[in-house]
């Protein structure tokens, strides 16, 4: 097991290095200079001084080495758009909001998605099945920014309990979390439903029934556990996506998260921020995938991680 983890860890480092390298050369290949984006009529001398300040006057390989050092030490230096603050500062101050929102989103989407899926499967081809699946289709097909705007324009302005926007209390989390959660919820519900339907026809379910187990025990202990495997698979990517914030929803609800940086850093050619967001997202993603792989073993004992070594 330890050997497996160590091996996976090395692979993770290698993956991140490849991503970082690709990103570095891609972002330098985009036309447009980070220092010119503001277009404030700087003199040539001022632009040259700024370039020197950000080491942009160095050769590309030199800059690459500097970046690798920054990535290794998780110190990305000052942002090119918000110069007084370092990239680390900006991400640290924004991460808690994105994390809270992300956890609420995960909570909403997983709990309601699984529950909806299970109920739909148990009441296959009946009213509740159709209703949940219609909900799922709506959840997938209305983009979260449309939902956000609808929530603000029709719910928040009418129900005092929900603030229109901004951040601070649990009440601020609910509407954006629902907007963000409805898509993943729908995917999870559909996945759970189809897997449940398949699992419920298996022989061991019949056996369990024959043994006289209660319906609840059959569903929770035998059916659901097997049906959840595909759901766990998508949890890795979902968690990474949700924890790193959402550009659109955070913007609409004026949430001070980090989602904005994933998009604005690119239009601003904010090189240090692009590198930082890339590293963060890819790290969370590979770590989550690793956790998912470990989880497989716990949920389904038939999957053995260290089978090869044995």
């Amino acid at each position: 097991m330890l050997k497996y983890i160590f091996k996976r860890f090395l692979w993770m480092i290698l993956t991140i290095w490849i991503i970082v390298t690709l990103t570095f050369f891609l972002m330098h290949a985009i036309p447009g200079d980070p220092l010119d984006v503001a277009d404030v009529g700087s003199s040539d001398a001022a632009s040259a001084n700024l370039a020197a300040y950000y080491n942009l006057d160095q050769s590309l390989p030199m800059q690459y080495v500097t970046y690798l050092k920054n990535v290794a030490t998780f110190d990305f230096g000052p942002s090119m758009t918000s110069r007084s603050r370092t990239v680390n500062d900006m991400l640290e101050s924004g991460f808690p909001a994105s994390l809270q929102l992300g956890l609420a989103t995960l909570f909403f989407s997983v709990i309601s998605g699984v529950a909806l899926g299970v109920f739909a499967a148990l009441r296959h081809n009946r009213m509740i099945d159709y209703v949940t699946m219609i909900l799922a289709v709506i959840g997938i097909s209305i983009p979260n920014f449309i939902q956000s705007m609808l929530f603000i324009n029709y719910i928040a302005v009418n129900i005092e309990f929900f603030p229109i926007a901004r951040w601070g209390t649990y009440r601020h989390v609910i509407l954006p979390a629902i907007a963000l959660a409805s898509g993943p919820m729908a995917i999870i519900a559909r996945l759970t439903r189809s897997n449940m339907l398949e699992v419920l026809t298996q022989d061991y379910i019949r056996t369990a029934k024959a043994k006289g187990l209660s319906a609840r025990k059959i569903v929770v202990k035998h059916a659901l556990r097997n049906a959840l495997l595909p759901v766990v698979t998508i949890m890795g990517a979902l968690t990474a996506a949700v924890l790193t914030g959402s550009f659109v929803v955070e913007r609409i609800f004026a949430i001070p998260g980090i989602g904005q940086y994933f998009v604005s850093s690119i239009s601003n050619r904010d090189y240090p921020m692009i590198m930082a967001t890339t590293v963060i997202y890819s790290s969370i993603l590979v770590v989550m995938m690793f956790i998912v792989d470990i989880l497989y073993g716990f949920i389904d004992p038939r999957i053995k991680l260290h089978a090869k070594e044995d």
């Binding site: 985009i30 036309p31 447009g32 200079d33 980070p34 220092l35 010119d36 984006v37 503001a38 277009d39 404030v40 009529g41 700087s42 003199s43 040539d44 001398a45 001022a46 632009s47 001084n49 700024l50 020197a52 300040y53 758009t81 110069r83 007084s84 603050r85 500062d89 101050s93 709990i111 309601s112 699984v114 529950a115 909806l116 299970v118 909900l135 709506i138 959840g139 705007m149 929530f151 603000i152 029709y154 719910i155 302005v157 229109i164 926007a165 901004r166 951040w167 601070g168 209390t169 629902i178 919820m185 569903v219 913007r251 609800f253 004026a254 001070p256 998260g257 904005q260 239009s267 601003n268």
Partner: protein, 557 residues
């Protein structure tokens, strides 16, 4: 099982409620929930609430975004300076009524006969928010810091008025050669490169605000936190949650504190204009911008405030590319585009149409505005445009006009304007123009490198003088971006800079503008407006055509 049943109930009912509410819709009436609108941050779970207790006059202003930096030479944008302008103060400040400098940190000043040496006398009761007196050394340090290549200020060119600053910024001169000197604690002597009489309004600009020397020398990050920020303006920074809000409260030690009516200003950072509009409707902010898709509907509304802005929307020709090497062809294009229609039907914010290049409302020494004294130099004239085009094509020996591509940066408004321009050129000149859009940074890069043939442009004025505009098109200026170079124009601009007599100087500048318009280097479109929604209880917010929002005189009734 019980658990998941319960959460199913909760979540489905939430989703159902959401869909129901979205479905019935149509309720525009917002019941004013004023609880959160009194400046109490009770929607923030923050501890320091004393500053904004009940009954205080806290104006809530949507700043749109987080300030880039509260360090004067670094921030250099509206998000930063709309705050900085109210927590710091330069040697002068623009008056409440007209954009004319009045004494601020400097109580008075003398100018030498040749117009080159300014001696500012600082007021005795000028203090930093940490209690220390504001000294001439602070100013000397700050002006040199703006020019210092190590500071790498994007706004360094605003120091170039001071003799020696440009060379220092270019890495050639030394700090000691920058001609700003503290004669004693309260006397500052500045020697200029040229005898520009508008220097007294230059020193009102946030780029030239002083900083507290010791604080800045000790701590590089001094401007990042309310605990370390040291200001000298009508307000002090009290609370700051990045990307959420920044609260400033009245500075009781400010020399003119009696004039200040507000107890504080809460700058909130709500980027999405629709969300901001809903917050405004719900009385959670006092001032915010107008969502651009609602401009036509709101522009004449009772709560809409329109301020003229020194800034222009225009188009550049690349005079190095065919067919725009020909003056008459350029002129034909310029005269074939009806800017009034663009303002009336597209932007819908009542922007004044340009009849020249320089901002109309600059004060002219003869008494009126610049435009009144100089006269209109450009107008829409489709018939003359047609003649000019024929003439130009004959001069170049064209049977058919070479292909023309108009480029703009990707944006809904620019796209619509480009389409209208395409239509006007087709109707008035029978010229087919291809449209092309590019992402902002790509577009800007191509425009600077003269890779675009004909492109959209804008310029926001920084200081209160026609020179702010005219300087841009001198040969080799980074703002030129047309390939245009005209000796007569360059000479007129440099003569104007060297001219100490105001009347003479304006004469030279007006002549330069005539040369520029006669050569049709640009297509003038319209001057900008700043438009805001302001609650009726808000009074005396000052926005000059140049500079940034002033809350020194503002009040909540």
């Amino acid at each position: 099982m019980k658990k998941s049943k319960l959460s199913l109930k909760v979540s489905t009912s939430l989703v159902a409620a959401a869909i129901f509410a979205a479905g019935c819709g149509g309720n525009d009436e917002t019941t004013g929930n004023n609880n959160e609108g009194n400046g109490n941050n009770d929607n923030n779970n923050n501890s320091n609430q004393e500053a904004s207790s009940d009954g205080d006059k806290i104006l809530i202003y949507n700043n749109g975004e987080e300030p880039t930096s509260l360090d004067p030479p670094i921030g250099n944008d509206e998000y930063s300076y709309s705050i900085l302008n109210n927590v710091m103060e330069g040697l002068t400040r623009l008056e409440q009524g007209e954009p004319v400098p009045e004494p601020a940190m400097a109580e008075d000043w003398e100018v030498s006969d040749d117009g080159l040496v300014y001696t500012f006398n600082l007021r005795e009761d000028a203090y930093w928010s940490n209690g220390e007196p504001v000294t001439a050394e602070d100013f000397e340090f700050s002006f040199k810091r703006l020019a210092d290549p190590e500071t790498a200020s994007p706004a360094a060119h605003h120091s170039y008025w001071i003799a020696g600053a440009e060379a220092f910024n270019e890495g050639e001169g030394s700090e000691d050669d920058v001609m700003v000197e503290a004669l004693d604690d309260k006397t500052l002597e500045v020697t200029l490169e040229n005898p520009v009489d508008f220097f007294e309004s230059i020193v009102a600009m946030p780029q030239l605000f002083p900083v507290h020397k010791e604080t800045v020398e000790e701590n590089d990050d001094w401007a990042n936190s309310p605990d370390t920020f040291v200001g000298n303006g009508p307000f002090v920074v009290s609370e700051w949650e990045n990307d959420e809000y920044l609260l400033v409260t009245k500075n009781e030690d400010y020399w003119d504190a009696d004039t200040v009516n507000l107890d504080g200003i809460e700058y909130v950072m709500v980027e999405d204009s629709n969300t901001a509009y809903q917050l405004y409707q719900n009385d959670e902010v006092h001032i915010t911008g107008i969502p651009s898709d609602m401009a036509g509907e709101l522009i004449d509304g009772p709560e809409t405030a329109v301020y003229p802005r020194s800034g222009i929307e225009f188009q550049r020709f690349n005079v190095e590319e065919e067919p725009f090497q020909n003056t008459n062809i350029r002129k034909a294009f310029a005269k074939a585009i009806n800017a009034q229609e663009i303002v009336d039907y597209i932007t819908q914010e009542n922007q004044p149409v340009m009849t020249g290049y320089v901002f109309d409302d600059f004060a002219h020494p003869a008494g009126g505005t610049y435009r009144e004294e100089v006269g209109e130099l450009h107008e829409f004239d489709p018939e003359e445009a047609q003649q000019l085009l024929e003439q130009g094509m004959e001069e170049e020996g064209y049977d058919e006009l070479p292909e023309v591509t108009f480029s703009y940066n990707t944006d809904d408004l620019h796209h619509t304007i480009a389409q209208a321009v395409q239509e006007m050129l087709q109707t008035n000149l029978e010229v087919d123009v291809t449209l092309e859009n590019q992402e902002w940074a790509v577009f800007l890069d191509a425009q600077r490198d003269l890779e675009l043939q004909y492109s959209r442009s804008s310029f926001l004025g920084g200081y209160n003088d026609p020179m702010n505009y005219l300087d841009n098109f001198t040969t080799g200026n980074p703002m030129n971006r047309t390939g245009w170079s005209n000796e007569e124009y360059d000479q007129l601009v440099s003569d104007a800079l060297a001219e100490p007599d105001p009347e003479q100087r304006f004469e030279l500048m007006a002549e330069a503008e005539r040369v520029f318009i006669e050569d049709a280097v640009i297509v003038p479109l319209y001057y900008y407006n700043s438009t805001f929604l302001e609650k009726p209880e808000v009074t005396d917010v000052v926005r000059h055509p140049v500079g940034f929002v002033e809350f020194k005189w503002a009040d909540l009734q």
